[in-house]
């Protein structure tokens, strides 16, 4: 097994086992979205109008939930020291940890979204459009979050700092993700324009995130 494949398998195993973050993220997402109709009431048109925004906000917070332990866990038990002594470049190590995090936290949200979308009065085409925006947009949330996770690595309770650093950076993805979903549901603006920008934001974060996070880790580890 190559070093990076070994790391991917390990991180995914840890995430899905007891105490891992995978189940926590999905449950949080389901609970938040399920509570929304109870809070807002049976106004079907209103629910349909704010549905994409609620789902996107819940996905954003759920994917941040387990992120603060991404590097801190490895730092606390000394694994990070040994990872730095491996032959794999730190940038790729960080990217692989991000991929493992997305596969265990982001992807389940995308799969669950149509189920809870029913509660928000979304019909089938709207569900499909929303799923597509989440599928494309959630990797951006994870990879932007990597930077915050790396900066907060040595802090005991880094979760709050992580949220403060990361949430403002996720605003563009949030705007264009919700805009694309709304365009597909209500119109009249075209779906393509915001969706293309969302794709671009994700691609940029896939490149910038690992480099920035690796640089932050190198500074912190001293």
């Amino acid at each position: 097994m190559t070093p990076l494949a070994a790391l991917l398998v390990r991180d995914m195993r840890i995430a899905v086992r007891v105490g891992g973050g995978a189940l926590m993220g999905v449950l949080f997402f389901l609970v938040v979205v399920t509570l929304t109709p109870f809070a807002i009431g049976p106004d079907l048109l209103l629910l349909k109008r704010i549905g994409p925004a609620i789902l996107w906000l819940a996905a954003l917070l759920a994917s941040l939930l387990a992120l603060d332990r991404l590097f801190a866990g490895d730092h606390d038990d000394g694994s990070l020291d040994l990872i730095l002594m491996g032959r794999a470049p730190l940038e790729l190590v960080v990217a692989v940890k991000g991929i493992a995090h997305w596969l265990t936290t982001g992807l389940p949200l995308v799969i669950c979204a149509p189920l809870v979308g029913l509660l928000l009065n979304l019909d089938l085409p709207a569900e499909a459009a929303l799923m597509l925006t989440l599928l494309v947009g959630t990797p951006a949330l994870t990879f932007i979050g990597l930077i915050g996770a790396a900066i907060a690595v040595t802090l005991r309770r880094g979760g709050l700092l992580l949220a403060v650093i990361v949430l403002p950076l996720t605003v563009p993805a949030l705007i264009f993700g919700v805009a694309a979903a709304n365009a597909a549901i209500a119109g009249p603006a075209p779906f393509g324009t915001p969706f293309t920008i969302l794709c671009a934001l994700t691609l940029a974060s896939l490149v910038v995130g690992p480099f920035a996070a690796a640089a932050a880790l190198r500074q912190e580890i001293e």
Binding site: M1, T2, P3, A5, A6, L7, V9, R10, R13, I14, R17, V18, G19, G20, D76, D77, G78, S79, D81, L82, I83, L84, M85, G86, R87, A88, I221, E222
Partner: protein, 202 residues
């Protein structure tokens, strides 16, 4: 293979920890580092693998693989065990073997060598402190790397495990490896050289 340090200095948190530390260790040699608490034993070991910045001086390795850094040819056994409690003993060891580039690993032998063979399927969270230490040592056996940096290797180990560790160290030295060990007490085999830190300042 020869690891040479010339006039190394270390600063931590704006404070000078040690300076003017020089040594040379060759294949088959064991260097023990001693000194009072805070003298910089751990910092010296971490400095060798690049986890602490070298404030002054040089550190060179002759006769190693010139494509690789010193850290990539070294094992570091620190105070922390680098184990994940939710993974089994075998999964923990197999990860480090895979991450350090072994494609197919026989983890049976390293675990037997350190006396953990019967616990391979147990989650690491249930291990005692000494057993966790032994699992870390199994990593050194599973992945061949010529330089071993051991920080208090015998702490938490019982007499039988200390004896096993001494055997493993002897075998490593006989196979052409070199060891730098930081320790307060005897570690079970005679050292070739000794380095005392913190004498000058004290």
């Amino acid at each position: 293979m020869r690891l040479t340090a010339v006039e190394l200095a270390c600063h931590r948190g704006g404070r000078g920890v040690f300076s003017g530390v020089s040594f040379a260790v060759a294949s088959g040699e064991l260097l023990t580092v001693s000194g009072r608490n805070g003298a910089g034993k751990s910092s010296l070991l971490r400095m060798i693998v690049g986890l602490v910045r070298i404030a002054a001086g040089t550190l060179t390795l002759e006769g190693g693989d010139s494509e690789l850094s010193i850290a990539e040819q070294a094992h570091y056994l620190g105070h922390q065990d680098a184990l994940k409690g939710s993974l089994s003993v075998a999964e923990n060891l197999r990860f480090w073997a895979g991450f350090y580039g072994l494609s197919s690993t026989d983890i049976r032998n390293p675990l037997e060598a350190i006396g953990l063979g019967a616990l391979a399927a147990l989650p690491a969270a249930y291990l005692s402190a000494g057993q966790r230490r032994r699992l870390s040592i199994a990593r050194l056996v599973a992945v061949p790397r010529p330089i071993w940096l051991l920080d208090e290797p015998t702490s938490t180990l019982d007499a039988a495990a200390q004896e096993r560790l001494a055997d493993l160290m002897r075998a490593h030295l006989a196979g052409g490896g070199l060891i730098v060990a930081a320790s307060h007490g005897p570690i079970g085999l005679a050292s070739t050289q000794e380095l005392r830190l913190g004498e000058a300042e004290a």
